[in-house]
């Protein structure tokens, strides 16, 4: 198969198209503009739906509408835009509507800047919108994975009737890499016995998150939690890199994991046994995997392009058994492989 040189953002689009995307709704914001631009051409050419919405809120709610009918729809944005989408995201989590939301992260808070960043971890993983819910969150670290993760995301969203977020960043989104478009075009989809497709020969359905009856909302929340437990048990994805003999284990996702890998290679040439656990799903988080490798004298190092968000989950997983250090930069700054190597050497002392 011939590999094509494309941006991460375009690879993501191709993954969605191969997954049988019916509709894309978006709004311009850097650094994800390639996505709506590409989709505006592709979707129309394919006779599918593209709408440039009047706002991020509208785009997310168009996805809500389309997905409520069982269609495959997605929206994409970058950090400030994702904040605006949180309303619909919370509703979709509550209404159990499978949908795909892409965040090509940039620096924050506020309008921030347009450089790649990883400061939306809390927002993606811990809620973002109101209520007791979880998104399934993927964190691809290369163009190939942007393609593959997006391709899989639709099935997983539908399997659990849950919104899925693809948490990318400006660097992975903007970079070009050779991609092997190795997935088959999806043409058959699971039957949906919950969606709104007209009440011919059946009772009418309604999809809602407003549950005012005695105990109804509590029961709904308990049911959601049960679902989340199943997701936790089945859907954790992580890459393990040279962890078996590692004395220092880096935990990093997305772009940070690539920078860290360079540093690990350098450390190994210096005789330092470093390795990495790279969460591919941030929720569910690879808690058990990290726990398994938590034993003295192993030290953990979390590397993020933030001032420390995922580290909280690493600490919870390690649970005091090993030390957990941090290296990160905020506001669109980038940690270099040398920074990571220096930190590894410092920990080795």
């Amino acid at each position: 198969m011939v590999k094509k040189l494309v941006k991460g953002n375009i690879a993501l689009c191709e993954g969605a198209l191969a997954a049988g995307l019916d509709a894309y709704f978006g709004y311009p914001i850097t650094p994800q503009n390639e996505v709506p631009a590409y989709m505006s051409n592709k979707m129309v050419t394919l006779g599918k739906v593209f709408v440039q919405a009047e706002s991020e809120l509208a785009a997310a709610n168009m996805v809500l509408g389309a997905c409520a009918t069982g269609k495959r729809a997605m929206t994409s944005s970058s950090s400030p835009g994702i904040s605006l989408k949180q309303e619909a995201i919370s509703y979709m989590a509550g209404m159990e509507i499978p949908s795909i939301i892409v965040n090509v992260q940039r620096g924050g808070p506020g309008l921030g800047n347009i450089a790649g960043s990883q400061a939306d971890y809390f927002q993606a993983v811990k809620g973002g919108g109101h209520g007791d819910y979880h998104l399934i969150v993927f964190a691809p670290n290369c163009a190939q994975e942007m393609y593959e993760v997006t391709y899989e995301a639709f099935d997983i969203a539908e399997k659990y009737k849950n919104p899925v977020m693809i948490l990318s960043d400006g660097i992975v989104g903007q970079m070009m890499e050779p991609v092997d478009f190795n997935k088959e075009q999806k043409t058959s989809f699971s039957k949906k016995d919950w969606c709104l497709d007209g009440c011919k020969d059946r009772e009418p359905r309604s999809i809602k998150s407003l549950l005012m009856g005695d105990g109804a909302l509590e029961q709904h929340n308990l049911d959601l939690q049960k679902k989340y437990e199943v997701i936790k048990a089945n859907e954790v994805k992580a890459e393990l890199y040279q962890v078996e003999d590692a004395e220092i284990i880096i935990v990093a996702y997305g772009i940070s994991s690539r920078i860290s890998k360079n540093a690990i290679k350098s450390a190994r040439t210096k005789g330092i046994k470093a390795g990495m656990i790279r969460p591919i799903t941030l929720w569910p988080f690879p808690t058990e995997i990290i726990k398994k490798y938590s034993k003295p004298p192993v030290k953990f190092l979390t590397v993020e392009l933030s001032l420390g968000q995922m580290i909280e989950d690493v600490r919870l997983a390690v649970n005091g058994v090993s030390s957990v250090d941090f290296l990160g930069k905020a506001g669109g700054g980038i940690v270099s492989d040398k920074d990571v190597l220096n930190k590894i050497m410092e920990l080795k002392k």
């Binding site: 040189l5 850097t30 890499e177 690539r258 890998k261 492989d337």
Partner: protein
């Protein structure tokens, strides 16, 4: 690692530094090497310097951002100023002497001053081909990717605008063969 190069292509917005980077990355792909391309994007598109970073390696590439750049094309003085201090020892550097006064750049690093814009304008007859002249000059020094693969990459990149293939091939050759 036999092959590992972090290459920065920098110039004014409009000088085609992003496209030049993609050609270089495509060439590396043609040569079965690993490659990444990363652009400066956003505000920098509107004046000032634009740049793209291409990493070419025979092993899996970590960061697409150049922390230890070893190759540079600087199409204007601003770009040379900005990136020269970051270049590691033994870097391959091509600078556009049509727009940069070599006397203003005293450096212990070896800078190959080539009148890139002039070659594009006078020899090729298209000032816009300066970026490709520069690519030709750079790969001559780096010896990777090969000239053949750069020419192949041009066929792929301009498949939808075949009329541009010939002029770009001429430009790459002119840079490559510059004495």
């Amino acid at each position: 690692m036999n092959t590992y190069n972090e290459i920065i292509i920098a110039g004014l917005g409009g000088q085609g530094v992003l496209l030049a980077g993609t050609i270089l990355a495509q060439s590396a792909l043609e040569q079965n090497l690993k490659t990444t391309w990363f652009p400066s994007y956003g505000a920098e598109m509107r004046g000032g310097t634009a740049n793209s970073t291409v990493i070419i390696s025979d092993e899996e590439i970590g960061s697409p951002i150049a922390f230890s750049p070893s190759g540079l094309i600087a199409l204007n003085a601003l770009s040379l100023n900005k990136f020269l201090p970051r270049m590691i020892e033994g870097s391959s550097i091509v600078a556009n002497s049509s727009l940069i006064n070599p006397n203003e750049f005293k450096s212990d690093k070896n800078i190959n001053f080539i009148p890139i814009s002039e070659i594009a304008d006078k020899e090729i007859g298209n000032i816009k081909a300066a970026n490709m002249v520069a690519i030709g000059a750079l790969i001559k020094i780096l010896q990777v990717p090969s000239l053949d693969n750069v020419l192949k990459a041009l066929q792929i990149a301009f498949a939808k605008k075949p009329t541009l293939i010939e002029v770009n091939i001429k430009a790459v050759n002119a840079g490559y063969n510059y004495k």
